[in-house]
């Protein structure tokens, strides 16, 4: 009986906390851009200041460079550029019979059309070319393809997004939905909308992809790293959540 009495105030406290949490969910998801300081927003807006433009510049060189084996450069096939393409990824690849991210598609093109070895994940050329392609779509609305073949992957992505993981036993949604706009120590928790990848993060002092960012969060909650397929599933769901928001690549984030 005594034990129950001790528990009662604690239960009340926890219920109170739960009620407070529900008070301030954001009315609509907002891009991480809106949570940044004016100085950082200016850095992203100005191509002269945005350090990610260094990767875009090297991506533009890679785009035009033909491989030594006589196969065409990217620009050789995609002569009119690829504006509007990046905000539609991940998309279903008929050739690979599975959903692919933009970076996976770049490597697939490289292997089949140019007969070149794939670039490693997070390697400079892969980030540069993805940044260059992304920049061509800057400002366009994010339009995830309404393709039934993507649905099971997208659903699996949402399940992962809502599943509690790791030693901290937290789901993506608990921070990036229920607590978006609040703070985790000094940092504002954004809505988890992948609107500008690959992007330049000041914390990284460099460019990185969405999988790198997801790995930051899984490390943060002390969970095991997601597999590559799981990363694609989560990316599909995140792009669905960000539908209609403007594409920001190459973005800057703190």
């Amino acid at each position: 009986m005594k034990r129950l009495l001790v528990l009662a105030p604690l239960t009340a406290l926890l219920c109170g906390a739960a009620a407070r949490e529900g008070e301030q969910p954001l009315a609509s998801p907002r891009s991480g851009f809106e949570f940044m300081t004016p100085a950082l927003q200016a850095m992203q807006r100005s191509d002269a200041q945005n350090p990610a433009m260094l990767w875009v510049a090297s991506g533009a060189d890679l785009w035009k460079a033909a491989p030594a084996n006589g196969k065409p450069a990217c620009a050789g096939c995609h002569a009119s550029g690829l504006a509007g393409v990046a905000p539609r990824y991940p998309a279903f690849s008929a050739a690979l019979k599975r959903p692919v991210t933009l970076m996976q598609q770049i490597n697939h093109c490289r292997a089949t059309r140019q007969e070149q070895p794939a670039w490693r994940d997070e390697s400079e050329p892969l980030l540069s070319l993805a940044a260059y392609l992304g920049q061509q779509s800057r400002g366009l609305p994010i339009e995830p393809p309404q393709d039934d073949r993507l649905t099971p992957w997208r659903q699996a992505g949402e399940a992962l997004y809502r599943a509690r993981i790791g030693q901290l036993h937290l789901s993506c949604a608990q921070c990036h939905e229920a607590r978006a706009g609040q703070r985790l120590a000094g940092a504002v928790i954004p809505s988890g909308l992948a609107t500008g990848y690959p992007l330049y993060r000041l914390e990284w002092q460099g460019m990185g992809s969405l999988p790198r960012r997801l790995a930051n969060c899984t490390t943060g909650v002390r969970a095991e790293r997601l597999t590559q397929d799981e990363m694609t599933q989560v990316e599909l769901y995140l792009m669905q959540r960000a539908r209609g928001l403007p594409w920001e690549t190459p973005a800057v984030r703190p």
């Binding site: 191509d47 002269a48 433009m53 260094l54 510049a57 090297s58 000041l202 002092q205 460099g206």
Partner: protein, 107 residues
């Protein structure tokens, strides 16, 4: 060869003040951090930048370890007459980068 991005107007009127901005890809490794094995990462920074316009130094600066990777700089100068702007960066391990831009000055 580092990648640089220099922003300045293609032309200016004589006597006009113009803004010059640059970005350069550089790790700016401080020399105070260690790698996964606990070994100290050697310092690798840009130590000096100079901008010459009409063969005169218009800006010179010394850089130090507390500057972030991929540094950015903005400064102004007064357009006198058409000519070359030469940008020179120098740093640790023999790092050297030189870029030239032409400024057209109209009356």
């Amino acid at each position: 060869m580092a990648i640089t991005r220099i922003t300045l107007p293609a032309s200016a009127r004589r006597g006009e003040t113009i803004e010059v901005q640059w970005l350069i890809a550089h790790p700016m490794e401080t020399g105070h951090r260690s790698d996964d094995q606990g070994r100290l990462l050697p310092r690798d920074i840009i130590t000096r930048f100079e901008c010459r316009y009409l063969e005169q130094i218009v800006l010179a600066m010394d850089l130090f370890p507390a500057i972030a990777a991929n540094p950015y700089c903005a400064f102004t100068l007064m357009a006198e007459r058409s000519g070359e702007l030469v940008f020179i960066w120098a740093g640790d391990h023999g790092f050297e980068q030189r870029e030239v831009r032409t400024l057209v000055v109209t009356e």
